[in-house]
Amino acid sequence: MLEKAIRGSQTYWGWLIFLLLVIGVGAGNFIYQFFEGLKITGMSRDVSWGLYIAQFTYLVGVAASGVMVVLPYYLHNYKAFGRITILGEFMAIAAVTMCILFLWVDLGQPIRVLNVMLYPQPNSIIFWDMVVLSGYLILNVLIGWNVLSAERKGIHYPKWVTPLIYLSIPWAFSIHTVTAFLYQGLPGRHFWLTAIMAARFLSSAFASGPALLLIICFIVRRFTKFDPGKEQMRTLASIVTYAMILNVFFFLLELFTAFYSQIPGHMVHFRFLFAGLEGHGRLVPWMWAATVFAVLALVLLINPSTRRKEDTMILGCASVVIATWIDKGMGLVIGGFTPNPFERVTDYWPTVPEVLITLGVWATGFFILTVLFKVAASVKEEVAGY
């Protein structure tokens, strides 16, 4: 099936070459970082994770959200989603790849990464994160590829794939739960030490992932003859709506606990994010932008007339993606580290090489996504007899 990826329009090739260029720039900067060390980033003693881990956290959510098209089809026999489950699975593959890359570029000693397997430590959440992420990647490659090639041949996919599909459903929930556990079990980091973290992660994932998938569906429809379908997109939009409502609700629960209890350690991180602390407020406009986008998303998506109209639906979805990307990315990571354990504030802002490496990883993900979606769309076109 991979041969489908090497036959495409000029736009397709142009896009791939553009992505390769961005990957090249990112790789060049990574080599620089590899030899100089992480000192070329904006990270510090106090803010020891930054843009990379922020992207990682966000993208685990995108990966997990593939389950939102898989689950209705396989567990509820919602036939309409049969057409797009492959897109959910392929998006998960691209997202998990980016997650692994973001973790890797964040390491101080990237060549020692296999130490995690050589000296496995079940008490470390990173160990479990490695297990669930690599497992999820393998599951989606096996399922996606086999189901698609069976569809191409007009046969039912092999029987051994079925248990893997069922396994992939709880597995998707596990990857984001484990990612939340990276944060929510650390003593002395009040912003992260909250039992609702995993639930917040999942709700935000199930809003942002399908929202991104919807946007990509529109792009697929625009550039290929494959139509993901009107009903499918509408159902996806409903899923995004419910998940985003839950996500905002969970966030408000956090605000209530912090500000009604009036415990300084719980309030201070929100103060830092939304008002700034001791004159440090670089994230403030970002957090308010996230708030505005979240409200806009809810208005556009809850209102049936704007949710059903395609352009406003897309605008709503884009707002969801932006709001959750800020909130579960930089907001979560930097907000958790600031102020530090001494109640001091250290500024963090990504440097140019750090941003370029980040863009390189994103471009790698989009490269994989483009190739996989090209294959999927071409197979669908072929089956439909175009």
Binding site: I125, I126, R344
Partner: protein
Amino acid sequence: MAMNRREFLKIAGFSTLLGLGGKAAFELLAPGEIEAAMEGIPLTAGKKWGMVVDMTKMDERIMDEAIKVCHRIHNVPKVENTKQELKWIWKETYEHTFPGQHHEYPAEAYHGRNFLLLCNHCTNPPCCRVCPTAATWKREQDGVVMMDQHRCIGCRFCMAACPFGARSFNYGDPRKAPEELNPEFPTDMTYPTRSRGVVEKCNLCAERLAKGQIPACVEVANKIKKGALTFGDLADKDSEIRELLREHYTIRRKPELGTGPNVYYII
């Protein structure tokens, strides 16, 4: 001097345990040093090391000297970007050492006054719990929280987990630290330097404990003022440190988190 295979393996094993590789291990094995090393190791077994910082005796000079000797004998370099600085032992004001404890009517003697801070060598250390490679671990025989800089992958999970800010990351290559700030680096040829991209922190002078010596900061502090720093075995009820804890009211940093810090402050 004769040494059979069993003895050699024993020492080699212990030196690996201590995180001393290559050159340092060789020096441990160097003729003349062997008896000291063999005696030193049992000295540290079955102990629970702890430290008391007596703030009634502590002053700026003692703290500065303690910091200086520690960073010198452990090859901790100075770097240009202070946000990425490395420190094993350092000073911090009362308000920031014990956040949440201070109030608007502070005792004059403590308002804005510096305290001496180091790794607490916690009884239940979260940094060790989160490490994906056991590059940092709690040494069973005496409770020292150790670091293996050859195994550390530099994920910095331990830095997020430590509620005491005790861990430093080598953002750059310490061997390439700016010369004008580190004219004599490495400052101690008997202690290894680190590579870039690994975490480091106070090791309670494990290399000195192995030789039956007390941590360098304690030694230096006591030379200036007796009793400013007390190091000892918390498991021994007759030890000097237990005596101090019996006789004085002491506080620890963030005891409510349950990590069990083993550095106590007399105020």
